[in-house]
Symmetry: D2
């Protein structure tokens, strides 16, 4: 595909998405998230040769939130392998809210999949290390590689804010601890999870993450294999079936790009064999997905024939 | 892709799958299904030019069962359009069993998606016609086109058997009627749904159905557009997220081919832009999916790089 | 207790309850019930010697609705015995709505108790007889005795109305049939159940029913033992824990009289060793209980120290 | 009732209950509870004049566990009043397990009733005080009065054991905190709750608690009103509808005495206007109720005609 064509599509997607600007709400249950600038909008495509096509606030930082679930899963798979991770968390989509505890109770032992909070906390609990600091260092180092962002840090205020207000996640974690599906110190796992959610990323960086997965685990910049190809495929399929919270099915049907959203306003998309996509815009719909981000994805999918469900 | 290569892959898939022969159980809750020959195994690929690559009992007939959900959805979309159908049924995957009624009650109005029983009954209730006979004629005529099977009929004994034993589906239908999400005569809709499930198909025919969807709605034989391309994409995405009952997520992860299984032993797979796949083998796993069928799909996906989640 | 004192309490209860007249709504989901006169209000006490203390429209007829659950349970216990009945239905209260199907699915086999719809349908299915007509004759004959109402009949229009609109009960019944906890012809059981709900009773009559239970099964009029004392105690305890739909706990706490309400506007109360109480007033609260009826019961309990939970 | 008759009934109840000795299991999820002597069995009746009729290990100490729910509710009602307490917890029975979290989630804001763990934790969170120590002092002082036990203390090892293993209760508490139905420091409330559960009581003492409630709040020993009569009635009705975990309905039906059990092996029973009953025997049935305790209650109810549901 010609560069000029891609750049045009990216620009058009931003323009199209801008039509929904101002709609939606900020994620007010995390106080820190309610301070961001509502008018930001960025779209970035990274192709498998590492070329970037960006428009808007591509380097504006925001917290990864649920996009961290992709990073945590990649880390746990690398460090523990497929069998171990999927003995702690399932693979099945669920129509429940991202923080449902009913599913935990009725399915008894393990959470449904790594893209819901309970599942991501379970995945986090697998990540090894001699101390909480060492465990987080592993995650951070890998995140820097996956996002091609050597200076990546967390937003401390967001982290502290979530530590204070994260009682629902705390409830999920203690519930899993009581079942024995999470072992070790619950508060340590939670702190680690909240830190990963507070990773302070940019739209450019999450498009890079998408491109790594689109390339089957190969970094488009360094050409190094940084995710095992089978793991990359696993992560991509879980994004496709469960990545957009309770609207995963509708997003598959209308857009058709495996993607993971975060309540920080970002969405990372994966078009296998073709490109990674990042969008950022902080106002959310009732499902917790960025309204303009979904529109930008929809527009790109349509312009560039990206749906994996169409010929 | 060379023909000889495809034929080889199909043969190898059958051989590989045969290693699981004898495992699993027949769908004993439908008496008629417990009479079939357990040792059947067929694999058929139909490419977008209509070439068929088959091995095993490719023309052995079996009841479509849940594969009919694909046909019913295609019919309802053609006759009523996207908006009408998806006002009666949702688009979201669910981790529940195919015949769950909890979801109906807690989500109040409409069933989760057209690939679970409640959703398929709701979809069926949309299909228009002056009489039950006329309504079924519409479905049958369209099914003959989609499966490239001019002589397609139903297995009357299977139909009658389900009419007698279908109390759980009856409960789902009356529940929806009480909510007002299904209107009209409940028993008529049920009879129509049971008839569609009793369509007596072959592995060759369901691979043709897969090929139509893989081609975005174009029949590989007649080259006529028989499904609207947008509808084809919708159906394919729903197969990907919810087509394999409670194992849809795992199938996406391990195989990566949008597919729909039936407790009659068939699975129809769709590889967008490339091919349709049919498998048939009657012994089922605990989720109601054909054990050898899953293995054949897995083998083909691996040999021919068919996962839509990998580059 | 002196007669004059009881008569005064009954009159005062009516006066007190009348203060809530006009509040609430009719049970509009059964069309026939929306035709009744909203301004009716009756209170009747029957003591264990058969003396009646009544005020208001004590002989106005209304449909028994859920009060029939008491009659059906008494009939099934008499005809099948304790063990058989409670192998088909549980004894535990539940906070769910009277027509919940979730409980059926998650508890797998039998409904929670005979005071919810599913439980009452299961109880009905136990009542023996060579034909539907004979089975109903048994119920009717026993109901005439229990209510001391030789001419008791059903309201045919109410029965036909429920047959047409009873799809939720139909769903419950087919669900139980699919589990095997209800056997035989589902539609026959449903018709029987709807007929019992359509019994056209008066406030005087349901106070007599209460008095029979209060006397441990002895009719206060004929002095004959018409319910086994153990069965009478069972029925009374189930009324106490589950008789007032989702407000059973609050009613126990605030009033303390074992009671069963119906959406027809009646409530039958049992004060063991002392009296039966009937109230009638058709406007209902959100739980389906008669608003003025609850107030009258509350007033009587307070005036006459009737709570079984206080010394 | 003659003293000799009561003493005889108590002795007979113990003898009868002893026939089930050795059946059941200790509450192994709390390590401390698995250390107790399985062969203990005590039955004590305290009448409204303070006379005690005891047999067996009436002064053997054991942890109150869920019997503390009665004490916590009494304390919260005394200190905060009816309206405040019942704005934080409901009044309805539920068929769910004592530690169900589903109910919390589906009913959204407040737990079903004060006799399940979530409800008791919510009740505990209402109890006022300048510090955790002061709050516990209030509870302890009142418990000493209610149990007529000036030297009552907690079993520190049991308390510490529950603090370590109480992750399910922790999950319940954090869930309520995330809903806002529990406010303040979750860990403080939990410690308080666990301390109350660890109150080291005797069978004699819990029969005194029952007698206070049976007398409408009057201590049978001091003749002082130590519970408001309306509160006493409320507590008694909640014991009747929800006091025996998932077997509350069956216990009402078969025994008919408002009662609260604890997994420590105790049961406290209330016969309004007549007596309090305590039983102790540590082996439990699958619902968490003392097997011999239930049998002793059943025998007493039968011998002395104690069911509140019979004349």
């Amino acid at each position: 595909m010609e560069s000029s064509c891609l750049q045009k599509a990216v620009s058009y997607a931003r323009e199209y998405a801008a039509g929904w600007m101002g709609q939606g709400t900020l994620a007010e249950f995390i106080p820190r998230l309610s301070e961001v600038d509502r008018d930001k909008l960025a779209v970035v495509v990274t192709d498998l040769d590492g070329r970037e096509y960006s428009v808007g606030d591509a380097d504006q930082r925001f917290t990864a939130q649920s996009i961290a679930k992709v990073i945590l899963l990649a880390t746990a798979l690398r460090d523990n392998g497929f069998e171990h991770v999927f003995s702690r968390v399932g693979m099945e989509p669920t129509g429940d809210s991202f923080n449902s505890i009913i599913r935990l109770e009725t399915t008894i032992d393990i959470p449904f999949n790594p893209m819901i909070n309970a599942g991501a906390i379970s995945v986090t609990s697998c990540i090894p290390g001699a101390s909480p600091e060492e465990r987080f260092s592993r995650i951070l180092a890998y995140a820097r590689e996956l996002l091609c962002s050597p200076g990546l840090e967390i937003d401390k205020e967001a982290f502290e804010s979530e530590m204070l207000t994260g009682d629902r996640n705390r409830a999920l974690a203690y519930m899993m601890s009581s079942f024995g599906s999470v072992t070790g110190k619950v508060e340590d796992h939670l702190a680690l999870y909240f830190k990963a959610c507070a990773l302070f990323v940019s739209c450019r960086e999450i498009s890079h993450l998408g491109a790594v997965l689109a390339g089957g685990g190969i970094s488009p910049v360094t050409k190094k294999k940084i995710i095992d190809p089978f793991h990359a495929k696993c992560i991509c399929s879980l994004m496709a079936t469960c990545g957009m919270y309770n609207a995963s099915g509708e997003f598959a049907l209308r857009v058709g790009i495996p993607a993971k959203s975060g309540v920080g306003g970002g969405i990372t998309g994966v078009v296998p064999g073709r490109m990674g996509i990042g969008t950022f815009s902080p106002l959310l719909d009732k499902n917790g997905n960025s309204i303009c981000g979904i529109r930008a994805m929809e527009c790109l999918a349509c312009e560039l024939d990206l749906s994996i469900y169409a010929p």
